[in-house]
Symmetry: D2
Subunit: 337 residues, 4 copies
């Protein structure tokens, strides 16, 4: 159920509707808009009666939400969500670029790459401190030490940090260092982890699972929103198909599909989406052209020595060139970069 | 095996090498280049000895081809193939736009749509006279009459025609009317049909099968080339995956993947690739940005009355807008449209 | 539309209803049943009015068919179709085994393998004379000579022949030699070919395409039936997925799914379905257990020398062992082998 | 690296080799065999020198392991792993049947279903207390109370319990009540959870992820084994493909594929694998025939009222019939049930 308040209603009115909802044992999610405030209701077992809410003072309308996802749906909020992180915007007219190494490997590497991607115009630094690896015997990331190095790179460059939280035990530690918490593809349906990041107040970047439908992706975002954290953006990173010329098949149609159904921003990761360095730039251009809200790209100053995913990391010079292409295309489709 | 001739060699020399190849029971495929001529050899059962050919007068080098596809591979021909049809180019610096209705339905519809897409800047008119339909009870196209209508539309607008040949029986009839013969996704491995169009001298547009790998697509192109028809371009039109928000999953990474392996042009069909009108424009933009050599788009003046695939046809006004977007992006990536 | 005749109605009555249908420009397909005759109607553009037919003498009921496939649907014919070929049955209580080499390579090989599979209890000999090959440079089969060799093997062993027709040009030639015409996976939607085999009176084995849904498979069978050939059985041979430990992913659930929707028999091809010799026997056992009407298995006396698909061919001794397993399982699920 | 000890070597010798390994900063995994003991070594960053270990007293041979998975590979242990739980065996000649409701809903339902499946011959009771649900608003399971109900059902029927652990926070609680801890498909690459169950001493059933390859499945099992818990069995439960007639595509070829590579038992879940009640029995029969070590089947006394996955739950009578079929087929392929 979505409660739409009258225009110009006072904060007190909103607060008293929230109280009324909570008194029924339900959860209220106030959603301020440019014109008027709405309040999403979750926690009901069966359908609710709109009449029960429409008689409350200040309520314009109570609308049943037909999609299985509520808080993240366009039905509930028409306007695009725009997330602000240290002065950078994700969503709306902005086109955001997140770049950096797959894994944080050393202070030298992290700061060197951070400086290079900043100089090229990136808005965020990415880097994994906790790495999900198929093999227990592969490099698992530097952990807490890696988070420290990311903090140092932020201090040095001013770039806010995007880094992954792998499990409920380390969410709080990650949240201390990260400006944006990444939830990886393998954890898209790790519901305990989704709930936990939903209870932090850090923005969350949620990656699409390797075989997740758009509905499932939005339901996972709903898990985060249902805990009260509405600063969520999504990331298409390729899906598993028979097509074997790339590591994954980048499903760019996910971007317009998500935008029809949801107000959340969606970016694209052409590095994991293709797994091959020479595919990253053309697919990054395509992501900008298709209407994505940004890209996340892996860059390494010595890809051939990278401890993970070297073959998909761009050389810094390639990233410089990519930024030029992207800026031109993004501005063509009405984006500021 | 690829024979590279010395630079500046006479046509006679080339002809005598061709004869020498044919005398061994093999097939010779001369491939003129801007610098020098090469000759592809096919028809051998096992490996050939380079020395046998290198001693022929005028031969610079004989190179074994490691890819399973020979004539269509970059190993055999480094330069991009550019196909010319009635003054329009496909490949190289050109970005070509093929547009028109899914099926030819009537003279009025065909000519009306042809005029509209021409006015908007399309280079070719598409339209199906023979339609492959999942159900025997669906509209199967106007057949020969449809081809006549396409010829009339060409006369009226000057647009060359792209239309599908469905079987060996009708290839010759289609070749009489079509400027480019389309081989559809369902026929990508109809090898008898591939051989037959390989024996015509019409340019061929070969669509990727719904579950074909890039290697299989190039092997199918090789079937056409092996018959002596080298005017081939490819078309990505989406593949079958679990992902259910679009009719197919448009695999744009196929474009850079093909360009690494082959000299053939590749265009993208965002209409079949998505199956949804509101997805066509963003994915067409992405196709231009990823480096495709063109797009094929379905346009109908009354999509809601279309006899096939109405939900994916653009309204003429939408096509006008798409052309503007595409022109801007294509020129950004160094293409003339 | 399905016309159900009254029980015990005379042949004349049926004939006059057929005439009445044809006079309306429609096509009538009489379907004799054990209790009473039905007549399928196809060829209508829009919905038909049952009342128009129910007033004809001898008609019990006219029932609109809701499935997109008509003649092959269970709605139209409740009882399982049983096809008889030279005294062997396909469908019903029978479990049929089709075995032989992938390709006919020589008289010695064909007859040797035919004798071995007959001795082991196979009911049909398979062998490709016309081979669809991904590469134009691979062995394409012995063609007409291969068909002669198959006829000789039939004479020698009494085994009826299953062999593939690749195109409309060779259907008639194949029909002269084959007891069952195979339509391969790559041709499942070669509609011209389907129509052509629909006009022969040979039984047809239709293989599921690599990325075909069950509905599409049944629609392709409908193409054959709509031409008047009702002796059709289907074959699951694996579909394309990301799963890379086998050549294809054998989708055994297709068998019960087809049986719910259609009266046609369905067999399973574990050789192409897995592509690996050591997977063939376990998956053949599973096919028998899941309720398939038979299996088609590749056997070669010298797999390591096979001209195509050697790695998936069983040695004759392995086939002997497989037959023992299959007989036991088939009889457990109520089948006679 | 795998250390093979001499036959008849004393426990002291084994212990001193373990110490020698640990002194090099590596991890030793003793693997007792019927003939002789082996010791797996993990934790090395690069390749180890066999000579370093072969000179230790009692060591017969040091063999580098070529597969990316070590402890779970057949290279390291030739004999099938057999897991014993309260007198029931999983693996070897046994065929084990795990049955029960999708979710524990009430004491009545749990005990009623437990009694029914026990009477039919099931060896284990399954039932979810913690349920992973796509929507945050769906029934999430009874949690701790559900575990209590399962314990009560075990007391009542003697059936050991298989139930899912969803996150690291609840593993210990689940381990207190469960005889076998299930790791679900969505958590197959939740590496923190895998490590945590690896540190319990409960047997673990690891389900294949929806888009996991066999190698990835075995690598996830390796995570558990690397922590010292070797009582692992795997479960095929269907993968995501384009094929839409079932909820997932049950990939039965996974069973022989796993058995070639690994000594771990593998069972099949036809309930999730198909998602449709009328598909469960045929696919369960196929699972027995393909050589699986068991099946896991959902049974509910009132499927139409089930709080989750009702459409795939068998009625108790259907389960009775299934058990008869399975017993016959399992014994045919050399299994005791």
């Amino acid at each position: 159920m979505l409660i739409v308040m009258e225009t110009g209603v006072t904060d007190d009115r909103v607060a008293s509707v929230v109280r009324a909802i909570e008194e029924k044992g339900l959860k209220a999610h106030p959603i301020p808009g440019s014109l008027r405030t709405a309040i999403g209701i979750t926690g009901n077992q069966g359908p609710l009666d709109p009449a029960e809410f429409e008689m409350l003072p200040g309520v314009a309308q109570a609308i049943p939400v037909t999609q299985p996802f509520k808080l993240v749906s366009r039905e509930v909020k028409r306007e695009d969500t725009v997330i602000e992180v240290s002065g950078r915007k994700i969503g709306g007219d902005a086109f955001c670029v997140i770049a950096g190494p797959c894994a944080v490997e050393s202070e030298r590497q992290t700061i060197e790459v951070a400086k290079r991607v900043k100089a090229a115009g990136a808005h965020f630094l990415r880097g994994g401190a906790f790495k999900p690896r198929t093999s227990p015997y592969s490099f698992q990331g530097l952990g807490a030490e890696g988070l420290e190095l990311l903090s140092r790179a932020r201090k040095e460059t001013g770039l806010p940090i995007v880094t992954e939280a792998l499990d409920t035990d380390t969410v709080d530690l990650v949240a201390e260092h990260a400006d944006v918490i990444q939830i990886g593809a393998r954890n898209m349906q790790n519901f305990s982890l989704l709930r936990k990041v939903g209870r932090t107040r850090r923005p969350v970047m949620l990656k699409r699972g390797m075989s997740a439908t758009i509905d499932e992706l939005l339901m996972s975002a709903e898990y985060i929103a249902a805990e009260g954290n509405y600063s969520i953006f999504l990331c298409e990173r390729g899906v598993r198909t028979f097509s074997n010329h790339t590591r994954n098949t980048l499903d760019l149609s996910a971007v317009p599909a998500v935008k029809r159904l949801s107000h959340l921003p969606m970016i694209v990761d052409p590095s994991h989406g293709t797994g091959k360095r020479d595919q990253v730039t053309p697919l990054a251009r395509a992501a900008a052209a298709v209407g994505a809200d940004g890209i996340m790209v892996e860059v390494h100053d010595q890809p051939e020595r990278a401890l993970s995913d070297g073959p998909q990391a761009l050389y810094p010079d390639q990233f410089d060139a990519l930024m030029k292409d992207i800026k031109a295309i993004a501005s063509l489709v009405g984006r500021t970069i």
